[in-house]
């Protein structure tokens, strides 16, 4: 009798054969300029889908990823939106030059942040949209219906925008990519260039359905 994993694998093969357009690799993407993140994602944040970055420990490096992403998109002259669920972004913490292409939305609640992200993901003028839900009350986040996340995923599908969702614990249902930062930075990193700090981040890939689908699609 086949095991559950074989059954799931067979089902995925069947779906890949029946709906090849759903299993193709999303085109385009944005480099996060953080080597461990780019390596885990196979080149950068994929366009047309959601990527969840879980900061499982304090000082895991999630904000450094945002800072590097700002620098990378500025270098590529792309526009980026930061939907800040708990208003935690510190403009003085990144060079002023890396802010001029940024649209920063300072939200008061996760529901506001989701509504704003829903609008910006559909806009078509952004290369990346970062939805930062760290610092939001856990009970409010858990109250978010799964349909809101599916709606956001549908909005991103087929578009050219890369969507990065930052959370403190796994939150987004059926997300194609979930990376976890589970090693805290230390004070000894304070004098190290930020690029080097970013490249030393410990990133664990918890979920990569996209890879599995890619393999199935051949």
């Amino acid at each position: 009798m086949p095991g559950a994993s074989q059954t799931v694998s067979a089902l995925r093969s069947l779906l890949a054969a029946r709906f090849p357009e759903r299993t193709r690799r999303p085109c385009g993407g944005v480099s996060a300029a953080v080597r461990p993140v780019d390596d885990a994602l196979g080149g950068g944040l994929p366009a047309g889908c959601l990527t969840e970055l879980v900061s499982a420990v304090p000082s895991g490096g999630g904000q450094t990823v945002v800072a590097r992403l700002l620098a990378a998109t500025q270098a590529a002259r792309q526009r980026i939106a930061l939907v800040d669920g708990s208003d935690g972004f510190a403009p003085e913490a990144v060079p002023a030059d890396a802010l001029r292409h940024l649209i920063w939305v300072r939200c008061r609640a996760p529901q506001e942040a989701l509504a704003v992200a829903d609008i910006l993901v559909r806009d078509g003028n952004y290369a990346a949209v970062v939805l930062d839900l760290r610092g939001c009350a856990e009970r409010l986040l858990r109250r978010t219906p799964a349909s809101a996340w599916y709606r956001l995923q549908r909005a991103a599908e087929g578009g050219a925008v890369a969507v990065l969702v930052q959370t403190q614990s796994p939150l987004v249902p059926a997300v194609p990519w979930r990376l976890v930062l589970d090693t805290p930075l230390s004070l000894s990193d304070a004098g190290v260039p930020r690029q080097a700090v970013a490249d030393r981040l410990a990133v664990r890939t918890e979920r990569s359905h996209a890879q599995a689908q890619e393999q199935l699609a051949g």
Partner: protein, 483 residues
């Protein structure tokens, strides 16, 4: 003007007429029921003397030549999709409220632009055979009342004045309520709302209080949002199959009108069209056209299609037709060689206005740090039209983990040993300090009343996590996390 309702009166009848060219300009009535029990449900203006509820046989005797038809579900679906597509061109949050009715959340939309768009859509849909009425108001209910009175667009700025003269049936009272209120001499919404709500509730119960709220246009609800179209396609089956180009072309025009609106609502244009003729002998004729210039211009598409159809000869009659548009982003502006401007400026500014309506004007924009060492000093500026090129490498590149602020800062008690923070207590953050860096002293604006001075530390807790502490006259606080 928070909500708009798009409403088509006698929707089933208009949907049928716009799907069948033989019904244009004729007296038509929709009937329900069979044989002698058949009754008219909707009648066109040309059907003089025929009104809903009339027996079909009487309708034929009163209006000779009238065409009596049953409802056509396929035509209604197609017409409703056109209506939803029109709604999405006004705003992205749309509810498909019912057959021939959509509700749109307009919060954050520019009023003048939206009003002009409403008038344009009403005129466009009237041209396609759907006499659209649009009402706008502070609540979905008020917008719904306005839509039923609109001609073709009505925006309610003075709800009390608008509701005062409306007949009572707008609030949908039960027959018993209508009878009681009639006995009180009340026949308008204004008459009902002139009474105290509590007294109405006391006499008519909770249902009476709800009726009063509906009469005041105050009832609100959460919209059940629908997704915009993601595939831009339309298909129709002919029964019986057709042999000439006219009915085919008539249907293609209807498809093109709807698909063009769906594309516009989603911010796309068509770069190619795919036409499939499904033949009676189970074969098909397929052709793909790459448009000379991507766009959502119906007449342009029809020129391409008609030029091809004029040359088509098939071995069997046409049993169905399918049209699919390939979407692409509109080339809104010509980009310079080194320009990195907006792809779609109208959408960009419109969406920022919507975001500002949600979070507030002062909470969206591009941050610009102020020329000071005061902590957390920045202003929000209007975003630039084009992304400026990066400057050269900074003299002092950024170092260390990046600060993530806690707004407002978390108050904390700090126990010091030998002048260094040794333990955090009594706040949202507690624990022994493993290592500390600092202090960094900063002060400014000493010549002004709002003079400030701050002592900043960076500490690493034994349990993990690096935090930034600040000490001011008010005591210690955790400014944020170095992340």
């Amino acid at each position: 003007m928070n909500f708009a309702v798009l409403f088509v009166p006698d929707f089933a009848l208009h949907a049928l007429r716009r799907s069948d060219p033989s019904l244009c300009g004729r007296a038509v009535a929709l009937v329900a029921g069979e044989g002698r029990k058949a009754r008219v449900t909707e009648a066109s203006p040309e059907a003089r003397g025929v009104s809903p509820g009339l027996a079909a046989t009487l309708a034929m005797s009163r209006c000779p030549g009238i065409a009596l038809r049953q409802r056509e579900p396929g035509a209604e679906v197609e017409a409703h999709r056109l209506l939803v597509a029109a709604a999405f061109t006004l705003a992205p949050r749309v509810e498909s409220t019912g057959a021939g009715c959509c509700t749109v959340d307009l919060r954050g939309a520019d009023r003048a632009r939206t009003e002009a768009l409403m008038r344009l859509r009403a005129a466009e849909l009237a041209g396609t055979g759907l006499p659209l009425r649009i009402g706008a108001g502070a609540t979905p209910l008020l917008a719904s009342y306005a839509a039923r009175c609109a001609g073709p667009v009505l925006i309610v700025d003075d709800p009390e004045g608008f509701l005062r003269a409306l007949p009572l049936f707008f609030a949908e009272p039960t027959p018993e309520q209508e009878q009681i209120l009639g006995g009180w001499g009340i026949g308008t919404l204004g008459g009902l709302t002139a009474l105290p709500k509590a007294e109405v509730g006391r006499r008519l119960g909770a249902e009476g209080a709800l009726l009063w709220e509906r009469a005041a246009g105050q009832s609100t609800r959460v919209l059940r949002l629908v997704e915009p179209a993601r595939s831009f396609a339309a298909e129709w089956s002919y029964e019986p199959p057709v042999e000439s180009i006219e009915p085919l072309f008539f249907k293609l025009r209807r498809f093109a009108e709807r698909i063009a609106l769906e594309l516009r609502g989603a911010g796309f244009v068509a770069e190619k069209l795919s036409l499939t003729l499904l033949l009676e002998d189970d074969t098909d004729h397929r052709r793909e056209f790459r448009l000379p210039e991507p766009g959502a211009n119906v007449e342009g598409w029809l020129r391409v299609l008609s030029a091809h159809l004029a040359t088509v000869r098939t071995d069997a009659r046409i049993a169905g037709v399918r049209l699919v548009a390939g979407p692409a982003r509109p080339p809104e502006r010509q980009e310079g060689l080194f320009d990195a401007g907006l792809r779609d400026p109208a959408s960009f500014w419109e969406n920022l206005a919507r975001v500002a309506a949600i979070v507030g004007d002062d909470r969206v924009g591009t941050p610009a740090p102020l020329d000071t060492h005061r902590p957390d000093a920045f202003v929000m500026e209007r975003p630039a039209e084009a992304v400026p090129p990066p400057e050269g490498a900074p003299v002092h590149p950024a170092c260390g983990p990046t600060l993530r602020r806690f707004r407002p800062p978390w108050p904390v008690r700090v126990a010091c040993e030998q002048g260094l923070p040794a333990r955090l207590e009594g706040g949202r953050l507690e624990g022994r300090v493993r290592a500390a860096l600092g202090p960094w002293l900063a002060a400014g604006d000493w010549w002004r009343p709002e003079a400030w001075a701050v002592e900043t530390w960076q500490v690493e807790l034994a349990v993990g996590g690096v935090y930034q502490l600040a000490r001011t006259q008010g005591g210690w606080c955790v400014e944020g996390m170095l992340d």
